[in-house]
Symmetry: C2
Subunit: 150 residues, 2 copies
DNA sequence: ACTAAATAGTACTTATTCGATCCCATATAA
DNA sequence: TTATATGGGATCGAATAAGTACTATTTAGT
């Protein structure tokens, strides 16, 4: 179904939730309660997000997590990449060069273009967008080469 | 990594390969050899593609599979949907309404917009595009609501 | 100095999905 | 009638995802 991992969905939920909170620090525990998610999982996700530089943390009593940057400056693409790694629909898109279809891998080059299209779509959406509704439908222009109409 | 299943990758490979073949029928066996894929898996995939109406088949000696429509009229999105089901990055995007984040599911509406963006990107690429190279990079316009600049 | 509350890191276990295979029925051309 | 195809399930193992548990470290407050 071309779906993202459930953990990634959780992560965007966490980030969006933090975008709502004006306070500097929110604990993993509190976020788990607010979103009705298992606490250990939330803790683990926040650590990952921290390593990716998307959230900053404060240890000790009264500590917690907070967005590393303003919500408008963090894209959904970044959150996905933090949890799942870089966007790449197919494996050969990464350039490993070990797929069995190597033969006519013009296909591979085309997958790369498609990947990029998805990437761009995800980069265009910020956490601020997710927090406050009102996304507008997308308009693409010229994803593929017009054959003989120009 | 936001990747499609390997089977789906195989399926697009099969379809692209058929787009190359001028002959009416190609057997599953032959396709398996040409693409160096396990024969039983190829057979299963072609059955799925047949049920989805993307390939037509001819039983018996000399039979095989062929594209149901011209390559230019079959999109990558259709192939993905045939194998993996409809494009939906998150589960709640399907509208089941059982995700635990229900609370502030403006988020859900936004995921739907993102899904659609991906969908559009995949619909824009046909098998003919995959077979003959030369895809052009994408240009998006206005995926998200311009806040206060207009 | 001590304690409670929080993150940091890692290892482990379980569940689910994916991928591959096999079997038997049905159709068809030679 | 036979060899060669597809059609439709059922099944099995491996890979991956998700959840859990444990220990160490940091820090505010008393």
């Amino acid at each position: 179904m071309l779906r993202i991992a459930k953990l990634t969905d959780y992560a965007t939920g966490l980030m969006t939730q933090m975008a709502h909170q004006p306070e500097r620090w929110v604990s993993a525990q509190q976020l788990a309660v607010e979103l009705s998610l298992p606490a250990p999982t939330v803790a683990r996700l926040l650590k990952l997000l921290g390593r990716a530089g998307l959230v900053v943390s404060q240890r000790g009593k009264g500590g917690g997590y907070g967005l590393a940057r303003p919500a408008r400056e963090i894209s959904v693409a970044e959150v996905i990449a933090a949890i799942e790694g870089p966007v790449a629909l197919t494996e050969c898109a990464l350039g490993d060069g070990r797929c069995s279809l190597e033969r006519d891998c013009a296909t591979r080059a085309n997958w790369r273009v498609i990947n990029q299209a998805v990437q761009v779509a995800l980069e265009a959406v910020s956490l601020a967008d997710m927090a406050a509704p009102r996304l507008r439908p997308v308009q693409f222009s010229s994803l593929h080469h017009q054959p003989r109409k120009v």
